[in-house]
């Protein structure tokens, strides 16, 4: 058999398009920065805070997804690592009055020797006491965030090294347990000089946590590191572990090392997210770091798509939006209004589905599910408008936000089991008409080769083609992309 080597493309996208995509990304980031600047100038505090929270939670979800999505390990202990980062940052960013308060309340339970190790000395030890003026405070903030991340990463190393031998559910339970252990340990007397027990402390400056520049800067750094890692050789090895641990090991991947590596990097960014979260809240309390937090992150990840960093960010945006702007849902309205709200929600969902399918060029554009949503919207509106018996009385929507989020998640899971973006990253080609119309030159070359192994006569070619047809050597066509997934 002759050995034929066709020219091969190393890159999935051709370089020109890559340049264009990078240019478009820079443009989008530029526009985004401009919009943020204008928003801050206009002074919609609530929106700016929501955006800052989006960035902070984005750091947490993107880092959690390195474990859950890339390594394929279900980790439920992210809130524990965030707590470590949060308390560290909180302590290092305390203002003077708050520090005195902690020391006073700790003095009743602790000896002087123990106290000597506590907050004041912590600050002095790092030389951070000097950094209190507005001009230098940001240096202190950077150091505080970084140290928070480092401590969390160290905790990740301690937790990860022994437990990552476990698999699946067992590991999930262990990580959950460690998250809780970290939280409960922080509430003990031993640490009360640092944590002020379960009460925590206010008085952490929120100047940075509520600033979109700092939080989006942190998010950009996180996304940079984690996406570069994911799309490097190390990330490929981690994905191999997710796909098939035994095969990965048999191909020379040091499974234990890569698991711990991913876990530690993820814990580092969890610590950073914790620090930012504390700065956003302006104080520290143990119940800022409940398991609920990890749960919200998991919802965001599953809604957005575990295989996709942009998808995770999209999912986070949805969760944060519902959390920050869902409070009208918890008010008391007449049942008629509720029906109209339901109708509008369903109609919006249908519109969103159509928009999504149009952008992703999925056919049919009007999925039957969209018709169901439209039907539901029409029915709700009809009942609200027509039937006077139903619309009497009022209803207070306690917990409606959580219900709304759950329903949203169910809808996403029904229609997109892999999350909104699944395994694909956001791509500019969605917006630019780049749909394939026919085979590329490369595909034609290959087809010619496959039907012509001998490079012989026309007759031989026909025979070869027949043989090919007779055999089942045809690969599934491109686009059948849900087939064979787990």
């Amino acid at each position: 058999m002759a050995r034929i080597v066709t020219p091969t493309a190393f890159d999935a996208i051709d370089p020109k398009k890559r340049v264009r995509n990078v240019a478009l990304t820079f443009l989008a980031v530029g526009v985004g920065v401009l919009v943020l600047y204008l928003l801050e100038g206009i002074g919609s505090t609530k929106l700016v805070q929501a955006l800052a929270l989006l960035a902070i939670w984005g750091v947490a979800t993107v880092s959690l997804n390195l474990i859950n999505g890339t390594l394929g390990i279900l980790s439920l202990g992210h809130h524990g690592f965030m707590l470590i980062g949060g308390y560290t940052t909180g302590l290092l960013m305390l203002d003077e009055a708050a520090r005195q308060r902690i020391l006073t309340s700790a003095r009743s339970t602790m000896t002087e020797e123990t106290l000597a190790l506590s907050v004041s000395n912590l600050l002095r030890g790092f030389g951070l006491e000097a950094l209190t003026t507005p001009e230098t405070l940001w240096v202190r903030f950077l150091i505080a965030i970084f140290l928070g991340g480092l401590l969390a990463a160290f905790a990740g190393l301690l937790v990860g090294t022994p437990s990552l031998r476990l698999r699946g559910d067992y590991l999930a339970i262990v990580t959950f347990g460690f998250g809780e252990i970290i939280r409960l340990t922080a509430s003990t007397r031993l640490f009360s000089a640092y944590t002020n027990g379960a009460l925590g402390f206010p008085g952490v400056t929120s100047e940075f946590g509520k600033s979109i520049w700092w939080t989006f800067g942190a998010l950009a750094f996180t996304v940079f590191v984690i996406s570069k890692l994911k799309y490097s050789s190390y990330g490929r090895a981690m994905q191999a572990i997710r796909e098939d641990e035994i095969a990965a090991q048999a191909m020379g991947v040091n499974v234990a090392y890569h698991k711990v590596l991913g876990f530690v990097i993820s814990a580092f960014f969890a610590g950073v997210a914790g620090g930012l979260w504390v700065s956003w809240l302006g104080g520290v309390r143990l119940d800022f770091f409940l398991f609920q937090l990890t749960f919200f992150f998991l919802v965001a990840i599953s809604a957005g798509g575990t295989g996709s960093i942009t998808g995770v960010l999209l999912g986070t945006a949805v969760v944060v939006f519902v959390r920050q702007y869902g409070d009208p849902l918890e008010e008391s309205y007449s049942i008629q209004t509720w029906l109209y709200i339901a109708s509008a929600t369903l109609a919006l969902a249908a519109a969103g589905a159509v928009l999504f399918r149009t952008l992703r060029r999925l056919r049919p554009r009007l999925h039957w599910g969209s018709w169901v949503l439209v039907g539901g919207a029409a029915a709700a509106a009809l009942v609200a408008a027509v039937d006077p018996a139903v619309i009497e009385g009022t209803f207070r929507g306690f917990g409606m936000r959580a219900i709304f989020l759950s329903v949203l998640l169910i809808v996403i899971m029904v229609f997109r089991p892999d999350g909104m973006l699944g395994r694909t990253e956001f791509s500019w080609s969605w917006f630019l008409r780049e749909q394939r119309t026919g085979p590329t030159d490369e595909e034609r070359t290959q087809d010619a080769w496959l039907s012509n192994p001998a490079f012989g006569s026309e007759a031989g070619r026909a025979a070869a083609r027949e043989q090919e047809l007779a055999e089942d050597d045809t690969d599934a066509p491109e686009g059948s992309d849900d087939e064979g997934r787990r």
Binding site: M1, R3, I4, V5, T6, P7, T8, A9, F10, A12, V225, K228, L229, S232, S233, Y234, R236, A237, Q239, A240, E243, D244, I246, A247, A248, Q249, A250, M251, G252, V253, N254, V255, L261, I265, G307, R423, T440, E442, E443, T445, Q446, W449, L450, Q467, E471, D472, D473, T474, D475, A476, E478, S480, D481, E483, G484, R485, R486
Partner: protein, 268 residues
């Protein structure tokens, strides 16, 4: 000196002795086939060599040094790679990624250089891609160009087998252990695999151990054949001699009625 020496290898799972004092050697540049009925212990031998199981007794030496007790990925570092009987590809990753992953263990950059894409990392990544396309090139252009970027789950069964073999080659191993490389393939694909295995030895310079059930493939490629039955080596030699060995025929087909009695009489 033999490249791979297996000495009195023994492994039991509870009461079942999977391999019992199996010993053989493989020389540089040889193609050796291991055959035997189902449950003879062929795959167990592979698992013992690659460190999936730890032998109860015996020794495995690769290029003179014992590799017993080494973990699977260390064995790959030393230069032994394998394929699996039931494909174990990274299904959701692309063909190219699959073949790149098996080269990851040779990467000489830490994760930070990978994140920041240092020149040294970029150079190695490019080299890895070249190796990947070279190894996939063994199978003609059918796994080249656009196929490189297709996820494995869209590939046909035969192409998955080919990808797995390319992946094993790309580890940089000198010795390849192929576990039923032609399982589930039609006659045309089997004969292609036969040629590929030959070319892997002749052009690629690999030494190859094959576990296989298809006798015509074994007959065509093997320099030597080792027959296992119930965990024991019952024959070794050239294909023609081995298939005519009465013990081998007995293992595959059983004895004629009354054979036992005759043997007893002969022994007595």
């Amino acid at each position: 000196m033999a490249m791979l020496e297996v000495e009195r290898l023994r492994k039991s799972f509870g009461g079942l002795t999977a391999t019992n004092d199996v010993g053989f050697h493989v020389d540089q540049g040889e193609i050796v086939s291991i055959i035997g009925p189902n449950g003879a212990g062929k795959s167990t031998v592979f698992n013992l060599i690659t460190g999936v199981y730890r032998p109860d007794a015996g020794d495995v030496r690769f290029e003179g040094t014992s590799i017993v007790g080494k973990s699977t990925n260390q064995v790959v570092d030393l230069g032994i790679a394998r394929t699996f009987q039931n494909l174990r590809l990274f299904t959701n990753l692309t063909v190219l990624e699959n073949v790149l992953i098996s080269q990851h263990h040779r990467l000489r950059s830490n994760w930070l250089s990978a994140v920041f894409r240092t020149p040294s990392y970029r150079r190695q990544e490019r080299a890895m891609r070249e190796v990947a396309t070279e190894k996939l090139g063994f199978f003609g252009p059918r796994l080249q160009s656009f196929r490189l970027h297709q996820p494995v789950y869209v590939l046909s069964y035969a192409n998955r087998r080919r990808t797995e073999m390319a992946r094993a080659m790309a580890t940089g191993a000198k010795l390849l252990l192929l576990d039923e490389p032609s399982a589930g393939m039609n006659p045309k694909e089997t004969s292609e695999i036969t040629q590929i295995i030959r070319r892997m030895r002749d052009e690629g310079g690999y030494t190859i151990v094959v576990v296989e059930h298809k006798m015509n493939l074994v007959g065509e490629i093997s320099d030597r054949v080792i027959v296992l039955d119930y965990g024991q080596k019952i024959a070794e030699g050239a294909y023609r001699d081995v298939v005519n060995d009465p013990k081998v025929i007995e293992a595959y087909l059983g004895k004629k009625a009354g054979d036992d009695k005759r043997e007893e009489l002969a022994d007595g």
